[in-house]
Every structure is written in structure tokens, then in C-alpha cells.
């Protein structure tokens, strides 16, 4: 089973040179730490920045410079700042190539739910609905099962949907899976020490196994 850092590390392998990338809150934010140094990519923060840099040193902290998770950040050379309408114009306009975000549930046709648990938790969708409705390539970072062992990869989402038929790939603590255009989770890789049988047991939606399933590598 992968821990959060390892999920982030595996997702970082999906990043390609020249991409503009939006990283969601939580595990997706950690992906930035594992993007190979030889790749030129730009990280977008939907509150109005292209060019997120590392977290600041104590002496560099600036309350006027935060990411979408409200964490203090720095800017890399060549950064640009803009307002919220411009930020989402570049998202909806398809200029951001890759979106990585978390999910509470994903369905076998690529629907995602991550913004609301009726009666329990109402935090809001933030920019997630705009991002999933627009991005070409959406990768989800998530736990395969809930804390009480229920699968979060489902035939259909039970929670309120954030976007329909949008997820392309999932990296969970157990596996890497792709969404088939015809519906179903195609098992591509398994976490070290995790068997195909275990992934099958813990995937409530349709799991497609096509040939041998290699163990993931991180480099």
C-alpha cells in the first residue's frame, strides 16, 4: 500500500515537459516535490498565479502570496499574477494541460465526487467543477477505500457529483487505473506487495484486467 507521499511520487511520473499544471489541495500539492528537475513545467494556482515556487523560508513569508490551499508560497522567476476571472479563463479555455485533484468517489464512467457530503460536510466546490469540466487530462489522487473499508471506486457515485465523465486516470494507495471510454476501471499497475485479487476485492465498480499487471515503479 502506498502512503500519501508515494501516491504523489507516482503521479509525478505522469508529468510531461512543457505542461501547465493545476494541483489541487492535499496529496496533489505534494506532487510538486517529485516532478523531475529536468522538466520545464509551470504550476498554476487558481487564486491568480502561474509559477508557484517552493514554500518560503521564515524570512520570505508574505501574506499576500498564497496558493489555493491558502498556504504561504513563493514565486519562481518568470511568474505572473492575475485576477480570478482571468485565472478561470485560462482553465476553461483549455490552456492548463493537466489537472491533479483529490476525490471522495470516482465512478467507472469517470464521474467524480469531491465537494459535499449531504448533512455532514459542506465546504463547497471551490474551483474543482471548473477544472474537471475543462481540463484535457485529469488525474485523481485518492484512497482506494474509505476508513471503514468501503470501496470508493464505484459503479456510480453516491455523493453529489463534481463533474461527469472527466477522470482519465486514478492513482490510489493500491493501484494505477485508467477509465475505459466504454466504462470500467482498467487496472494498469499495482502497488508493491498488493495483489490483483486484493484490488479486485476492493473495487466495487467494473475492474478490467487485460494481461499481466506490473508492480509500479517510482523513477
Amino acid at each position: 500500500m502506498l502512503n500519501k507521499e508515494q501516491i504523489a511520487q507516482r503521479i509525478a511520473k505522469e508529468v510531461q515537459n512543457g505542461q501547465y499544471i493545476n494541483l489541487g489541495i492535499g496529496i496533489p500539492t505534494l506532487v510538486a516535490n517529485y516532478i523531475p528537475k529536468n522538466l520545464d513545467v509551470v504550476l498554476q494556482s487558481e487564486n491568480g498565479l502561474l509559477g508557484i515556487g517552493p514554500f518560503p523560508k521564515e524570512s520570505e513569508v508574505d501574506p499576500d502570496l498564497i496558493n489555493a490551499g491558502k498556504q504561504t508560497i513563493t514565486m519562481v522567476p518568470g511568474s505572473v499574477l492575475f485576477n480570478s476571472a482571468e485565472s478561470f479563463a485560462m482553465i476553461r479555455g483549455g490552456h492548463v494541460h493537466l489537472t491533479i485533484l483529490g476525490a471522495m468517489e470516482v465512478s467507472e464512467n469517470g464521474d467524480i465526487a469531491n465537494w459535499k457530503i449531504p448533512g455532514k460536510m459542506v465546504k463547497g466546490m471551490g474551483g474543482a467543477m471548473d477544472l474537471v469540466a475543462s481540463a484535457e487530462n485529469i488525474i485523481v489522487a485518492m484512497q482506494h477505500c474509505s476508513k471503514d473499508g468501503q470501496s470508493k471506486l464505484l459503479p456510480e457515485c453516491t455523493l453529489p457529483i463534481t463533474g461527469i465523465r472527466c477522470v482519465k486516470k486514478i492513482v490510489s494507495d493500491l493501484a494505477v487505473l485508467e477509465i475505459s471510454p466504454e466504462g470500467g476501471f482498467i487496472l494498469k499497475e499495482r502497488a508493491p506487495g498488493v495483489s490483483v485479487e486484493e484490488i479486485q476485492t476492493k473495487t466495487a465498480g467494473k475492474l478490467i484486467i487485460d494481461g499481466p499487471v506490473p508492480e509500479m515503479s517510482f523513477n
Binding site: 487558481e46 485576477n83 463547497g124 474551483g127
Partner: protein
Amino acid sequence: MINKTVSGAKEAVADIPNNAFLMMGGFGLSGIPENCISALLEKDIKGLTIVSNNAGVDDFGIGLLLKKRMVKKMISSYVGENAEFERQLLSGELEVELIPQGTLAERVRAGGAGIPAFFTPAGVGTEVAEGKEIREFDGKLYLMERWLKADFAIVKAWKGDTAGNLIFKGTARNFNPIMAAAGKITIAEVEELVPAGALDPNEIHTPGIYVQRIFQGENYEKRIEQRTISK
């Protein structure tokens, strides 16, 4: 140049009445109009509707207005990190309209730009789409969303001049420029107020035409929600 200067926050918000429809700039606690929020707290008004991406935290920003029960309705995209807000919402004391952040930004922009409606893909197939017109363009589905305009837009800038021209700093810009344009009356509080002509016209983000009142704020706390340091 037309002089937009007022004496301070108290004068700037003096005529905001009960049940006013407000916009407030800021993302999280970054770029929020701290001085105007404090001045509103001193007023005996209620029933406010506030458009703001977030709702502050329990003891700062819009959270203070919520705690004093001055707010009837929030129109926001993300309201986590505020226990009092969540309590009022789940108990039905507070009305909340949650809107995708890009839709919120574009509705505000459209309000300022005189565009009554537009189509966006955000929210198609979700509860956000309920009751809204859906149309297909080039094989993809889009929702119709309406503009948003406010009785008063309250924004915070880094620098401003007496003509109402504004410059923002860092990610404190966020919703401030688009809200400035969407207010019938726009109040701008700035960290540094200079005479008209002292700002380089090339560097101005918000033209003064959108701003009716401006003043230099004081004692900015600029609280940080998630102080995160490199190890």
C-alpha cells in the same frame, strides 16, 4: 481628476443599509477589506447578502460578520475552515449559495462588463445545473449562468490614487478587480493612497472609473491561514 477620497472606513460604509447586497474581495484571508469589515461590525445592520469567494474564519474577516448575525446569505465557492459558518448553514440559520469558483468569477466579471448571461461547462451534470438552461455547442453541454452585480462592492488594494486607480499585490488581487467593476458603489481601501498622477498608468490594474470611494486603511493584520515554511 475626480477626487474619490473619503475620510476612512466609517464614512465609506456609512450608508450601507439593512439587507444590502455586497461583494467583498479576497481569497481566503488574502486581500480582504479588513478596515471596512471592522467598520461594518460597528454598524447596527443586518440581513446582508455577501458575495465573497470564502467566508473568512471564525474570528477574522467575514467570519466576524457571521458571528454577529449580520449576514442573511452568503454567495461563495468554498466555505471550509469556518466552524461557525458550517453550524449556521447546517442548522438553516444562514442561506448559502455555493457556486463553482470560475463561474462565480465570471458572473462578477459579466456584471461589471454588462453581459447579462453566458454559458460555461462547469457544473453540467451536477446539482449546480438544476433549474438552469443547458445548451449544446459544438457537441459539448454548457449551462447558462447570469451576471452578478452589487449595491456595494468593497475591495482592498495595495496602492491607490485619489482618482480611484488601483494596484494590487501578489495573490491578494484575486476577486478584487472584477468586484470593483461590479458594484453600483465601489469602496476601495488601500495600504498606500497617493495623489492622482503618482502611479504609473502602465502599472494600474483597476481603472478609477469603477471606484466611487477610496481611503488609506490602517493597522492591517493580514492574517495567514496556513503558514507553510520550507524545511
